[in-house]
Symmetry: C2
Subunit: 147 residues, 2 copies
DNA sequence: GGCGAATAGTACACATGTTAACCAGATCGG
DNA sequence: CCGATCTGGTTAACATGTGTACTATTCGCC
């Protein structure tokens, strides 16, 4: 009836569907540990950092917006998984790191996460998956820099 | 420090980043027409259907969850963009279609949407984009059927 | 030094994601 | 028939997405 691009053939829909089919496998496991997908992203990002990181840095690494990070950190520090202090040389900036308890949680959950990722990798093929990820990175970089 | 897979190399993060880099270009245009990304998905899905469709069908085609579709339809019918009636043979089922005003809105927004999509296609390459979408579809199908 | 612009972070408001509970209409087996 | 069950849809509750406004610093510059 109209000339618009097919629904299912659009990239945003394909990205959404692909992500949902993958995340569907992770969420139940995370729920067993009372973690949302986003909370787990924040914990992982903190775990990957050796030095403390600030809110902006976390937002960038986790692909979350600053207001979301603020709320998630409130929940995680409340639960004692994250420690927070103020930077001495810039009183606006926060210094965030995993608490010992947070480290324990990450160490507990990570193997489960990795196991599920392995299933996904096996189902699709490791090489094929790797190539797909590379294409996605290229895509993001091209769009973010161009214009 | 731990053996976990690199953050940025994980597929879910790559999918998220890619989608965000694309959607960033669409959202301002949709906001100009007072539409959210999800409302536009619903309108497009309705526009693509010749016959009326029910809530479940919309949820499936738009990759939204039923509760979200319920709320979005409430907003769209409120604005007079969508018409809703009850199915005669199954009083639980809704019959949804675009109102004339809704058709007008879709016809107005679609060219803008298509223009942005063209930019994206040009930036990444049409053939390459097409192949990427195919891979994403394959990925979703493999994961949804296997296990 | 001190004022205006930039920056980090938060607070708010509204829309959606996610899960579970719930209601009414449809279906099936006895 | 009719009650047990299933199914379409909504409601509810809480977490996140998204854009905007606002506070507290810090910075640039005169």
């Amino acid at each position: 009836m109209n000339e618009m691009r097919g629904f299912d053939e659009s990239l945003p829909m394909a990205l959404l569907a692909a992500r949902e089919s993958a995340m569907r496998r992770f969420r139940p496991m995370l729920a067993d540990h009372d973690l949302t997908e986003q909370q787990w992203r924040v914990l992982r990002a903190l775990s990957a950092e050796s030095a403390p990181i600030d809110v902006g840095g976390l937002a960038e690494r986790t692909a979350l917006l600053a207001p979301s990070v603020t709320r998630i950190l409130a929940a995680l520090t409340e639960r004692g998984l994250v420690d927070r202090t103020m930077s001495v040389d810039d009183q606006r900036r926060a210094e965030l790191r995993l608490s010992p308890l947070g480290e324990t949680i990450v160490a507990t959950v990570a193997p489960h996460s990795e196991a599920i990722y392995q299933q996904v990798e096996d189902a699709f093929g490791a090489a094929r998956l790797s190539k797909l990820i590379t294409e996605l990175h290229d895509f993001a970089h091209l769009l973010n820099e161009g214009t």
